[in-house]
Amino acid sequence: MNKYNTKLILMLFFGALLSVSVHASKPLWLFTPLTQTTVSVPSSGMSVVKYQVLNQSKKTHTLYLKKKLGIEQSVAPFNCPNPFTLAYQQSCILTLVITADALIGDIFHSPKICDQGNPLQCYQPSFQNSLVVTKVPGFLVEGTVSGLANGDSVTLQNNATNTLAVNVNGRFTFSNTLKNGDPYSVTILKQPVASTCVVTNGSGTINGADVSDVKVSCTLNTTILSPSLMDLALNVSGATRVITITNTGTTTATNLTLTFPTWPAGTSDGTTCGSSLSPSASCTITVTPGASATSSCSTGIAPTAGVIQITSTESNPVSINVVVLDYGCIYQGGYLFFVNDATPNNSSISGKVMALTDESTPYSWGSTGGTTAISRTDGEANSSVLNSPTYPAAAACLAKIDQSYFDWYLPAICEIGDGNSICSSLSLQNMRANLYQSGIGGLLGGTNRYWSSTQKDSINGWYQRFSDNLQEGTTKTIQYNVRCARSF
């Protein structure tokens, strides 16, 4: 046998093998179930079953559903029309509406789809996917599943006995029927892998009709890192403050990483956070302020916040802005002159700031006459009493909108300075001591005087002269400068 003959024989042999291998059995059109195909329908009820029908033949076929009493084809939008024509590898969704009333007995081995409706060429779903309809007495518990990921499934249970695995979004029906007056209670027996489902309208009592409004809503499992504060303000050399990070998602945050900024001198940090954080678990970050303010803001500028960055594999990064403040820092719309460091350590400091500039024109305190604005320490309370055009200085602050804040007030006499014995005995943090003395804030010295919101008597109000810390009362109708303040 020469070489050529050997090749020829090998070619014929493999050719024969190939010709045998292409012989196979598979349906011309394939049914893939999109819903459960074994359904129980109560005598007066309905059910919907869906298949995707795919033409596997290279020939185009025009297909008809073989008629069967009680089974109608829905031709609503996005469903197969009737008839439907499918070219090679084309598919559509065959929606069957089953009306138990019209069924003659139970249904098995359906539906059949025939080329041009001709009984010479019909196909049906596989045995496992056959439509099996059982008419049952009683009432059904039905509902819808939404949000389920492709390929995932949720296992439901009714009354702790009737179990149903659902693997596609859409309608579901429990196989067991209930009598009128029976209770029903739908619960999640097994959660999906990729999502978490909750049941609404899941329990009640059968009241003469099927229950169809049970909702199972699934949401994809997430990791959400939720800090207790997005912005933290601390006082120089003040209290250590704590930020709590909680995983409010449904899956563990892994590769948890905290990145701290370059702190101002003396400020330090600490954390209890590890490399992962389970759902609902928390960890903390502590910041202990040193003697230096952030970006030397005490010179009368706004601080550039340090940023703590928190990242994990599963979540978006989270940023927390931290500032260490001192008198003179521009914060919350004004110059910081009053700090309350006694706030809870899981929050920022509180305090008071002075407006960045004087009001544009001098104002009188008001007309002669007594008021209750007599607090020497609480300008906010005084101003609320003086909220009327009758008291122009206070009214100017109350009407002020600046740096996006609109809660300005005319400060009380001891918030401005401590020149008289009453204020000096109170040792209240004030604008003169903490700002004017440092040359911050543009307060006018010399003989310039500023109204406070504190009334001395029915004729006089208290004013402040910054240059020599004079605090005295004078006639309310005189016009002096006004510098507003606000608290945060």
Partner: protein, 248 residues
């Protein structure tokens, strides 16, 4: 099929040995006589045809026949005359009526005429009944038996029936089936063999005959609008013959 041939020839030889001592001298009469002959024997055919055709304008199928021989019994009765034509040649002429058993034909169906959709098997039966004019010439060479040749021509009725298709996969729903149908044909046969005179009236013979049945055809199925049912354009059958002849 050789085993049928061997066993039949063997039977003829044995019968020749048994009867040779007492009846070997008997010869056919020189004048004509009436004869009646009964023929029995196995028949086989390997008739098969692959067919692809449209049953409707949109439904096309291929019917792929399987390669399998069919064997069944056949029988024939012949009535006629026998006459010595010359010193050595004896002739027979008569009318023969024959019937056969069922040739069972089967195969697979390709939907859309594509081998990847081999989704059904099928089977049906064909049998023949025929009436023919049959002639036979036997050579008397004073041997212990006489060789003969035969030929016949006539009308045959091929009955195709009991078509059935069976899904190979569950998804393939059963179809309506082709109807039974009888097809009339011109039929003919040629044969050869040996025969032995057992007594003045009885002869026994054996031989082989090739017969042409003509065509067979199934009827249309319900809802079929194009073409007929499955056809066989040529059925050739092989027959082993065991012949019992009585002459007056």
């Amino acid at each position: 099929m050789p085993r049928y041939l061997y066993s039949t020839v063997g039977l003829l030889l044995i019968s020749g040995q048994l009867f040779s001592g007492t009846m070997a001298t008997s010869r056919p009469p020189s004048d004509w006589s009436w004869i009646g002959a009964l023929t029995l024997g196995p028949t086989w055919t390997n008739a098969r045809e692959n067919q692809t055709f449209y049953l409707t304008p949109t439904i096309e199928k291929s019917y792929i026949a399987s390669k399998k021989n069919n064997t069944f019994l056949s029988g024939e009765f012949l009535g006629g005359i026998q006459k010595k034509i010359s010193n050595r040649i004896v002739g027979e002429l008569g009318l023969a009526i024959a019937t056969t058993g069922n040739a069972k034909l089967q195969g697979v169906i390709w939907d859309d005429a594509e081998p990847e959709f081999e989704n059904f098997t099928y089977g049906y039966k064909v049998r023949q009944t025929r009436v023919s004019l049959k002639g036979k010439l036997a050579f008397d060479g004073n041997f212990w038996c006489m060789p003969w040749v035969s030929g016949s021509v006539g009308v045959g009725f091929n009955r195709a029936r009991s078509f059935k298709d069976t899904p190979i996969i569950y998804e393939a729903a059963s179809n309506t089936v082709f109807q039974n149908h009888t097809k009339k044909n011109l039929v003919y046969a040629f044969g050869a063999g040996l025969q032995k005179q057992l007594s003045p009236h009885w002869q026994i013979g054996a031989g082989y005959e090739l017969s042409s049945w003509g065509r067979s055809e199934l009827g249309q199925a319900f809802a079929q609008t194009l073409n007929t049912g499955l056809e066989l354009n040529t059925i050739n059958a092989n027959n082993i013959l065991l012949i019992f002849t009585y002459s007056t």
